[in-house]
Amino acid sequence: MTGNVSGTFRVKRGLAEMMKGGVIMDVVTPEQARIAEDAGACAVMALERVPADIRRDGGVARMSDPEMIEGIKSAVSIPVMAKARIGHFVEAQILQSLGVDFVDESEVLTPADETHHIDKFGFDVPFVCGATNLGEALRRISEGAAMIRSKGEAGTGNIVEAVRHLRNIIGDMRKITQADSAELFEWAKRLQAPLPLVQEIAETGWLPVPLFCAGGIATPADAALAMQLGAEAVFVGSGIFKSDDPAPRAKAIVEATTHFRDPEILAKVSRGLGAPMTGIGMDEINQRYAERGW
């Protein structure tokens, strides 16, 4: 096996690239993982409680039990992701040793460090991190994240925050492509982000890693909205297994993510899915997960 190099940024970013156009579904049991794979999920997120339940239960939310993660890993052939707390690099070490395919350094869990995120270059496993704006996204990339997702507001079934975050991130990228070279210094300062990454956006028009949507997707139309806004794939957390009839809804969201520009197909797959998760308005919640991380 001479000359094989693992854990390079290209190898890590490569798996994120493979998930584009797909749906990553939160699952809490091997049965749910199989339903997700059957429906066409491109990956699953293994966790003990979906965000809606974490929100309801309160308390400290931590990395899931390795046994539960192993159970989900052996149930499906698609990639398995799992969440570590912000800054909790030991949880990330454990997840890497379990052979998890992607680690989500997630604001849905209770942060372990209020100042530092994980140094993600120190790992062979790729990381995804949430962001509410472009500066946050670039700081996470400078720490080694191989994928960025909107934070949205997990567990609400309400897409409004994810839309805000995608518009923040993509809108600022659009403006940066119009800026002249002197203005890029000001952009880097304002975003509190490394200048080379800002200059790269000016040149390419996009982040150096894929940008996915997470936090509040509950319907096929929500998934298509995220994709039309510019997200390259979607995470669905509580939206599937907190709905009346998860399997057909999961399949419909997969179809909608692929055919996101085709209203006829979107109408067809949205029919007769039963009730989506009830969802909550932003004025009804007392803890905004999106405010965790910096």
Binding site: G7, L15, M18, G21, E37, G99
Partner: protein, 205 residues
């Protein structure tokens, strides 16, 4: 000799799920036009088709629901050139090991592939390979890649890694188990486009 200009060639990229935009960039770098293919009508006028990496189980289901499966099958049989990378190789293989029971395949490449055969993502890697027809080595990025366990017919091996074939060709089908679309090196896409152009020129004569 009627030379076919690259700019007049359109290569479809299967855009159901996976790394399709990276393939579009690589194909445009070698001078052809590209089109995303999600429905059968998107295939009209394409001279070849690239099947990207991604999840083969996901693509298999979407091929069925979109009606693309039958249409692509017919076109491969009548000579359309196809490039499959990673999951694309699985979709093209005649025999799939460790796949889902309901997983669809075009069966156009007489090979046996095993899914995720190198292990999980932490076992993914990059390495330099010699490829037949290319003068300098190619940086090959393997992401949860399949392994071609056997050649079950008249298959040309263009590159191997650890004595296993990783770039293979059979008639109008080219299979690559790694991801040439993840580097800035478009030479493999160039080889694929040359095969398309050779056929177009032969048909014109």
């Amino acid at each position: 000799m009627n030379a076919v200009e690259r700019s007049k060639v359109t290569v479809g990229v299967l855009a159901l799920q996976g790394a399709f935009s990276a393939h579009e960039h690589a194909l445009r770098r070698v001078g052809v036009s590209t089109r995303q293919v999600r429905l059968p009508r998107d295939l009209n006028g394409v001279d070849g088709l690239a099947m990207p990496g991604g999840e083969s189980t996901t693509m298999s289901q979407l091929l069925e629901s979109s009606g693309l499966f039958g249409e692509i099958s017919r076109r491969i049989e009548s000579g359309m050139h196809v490039l499959g990378t990673c999951a694309g190789v699985i979709l093209l293989a005649r025999t799939i090991l460790d796949g889902r029971a309901d997983q669809k395949s075009f069966g156009a490449l007489p090979i046996t592939v095993r899914r995720n055969a190198y292990g999980r993502q932490i076992d993914s890697f990059e390495t330099n390979l010699d490829v037949a027809g290319l003068s300098e080595p190619f940086t090959a990025v393997f992401i949860r890649a399949p392994i071609i366990e056997s050649l079950d017919g008249d298959v040309e091996v263009l590159a191997s890694h650890d004595s296993q074939p990783v770039v293979v060709a059979h008639g109008n089908v080219v299979g690559v188990t790694f991801h040439p679309e993840l580097t800035d090196d478009s030479r493999l896409h160039g080889l694929f486009v040359n095969r398309i152009i050779n056929s177009l020129e032969t048909n014109r004569r």
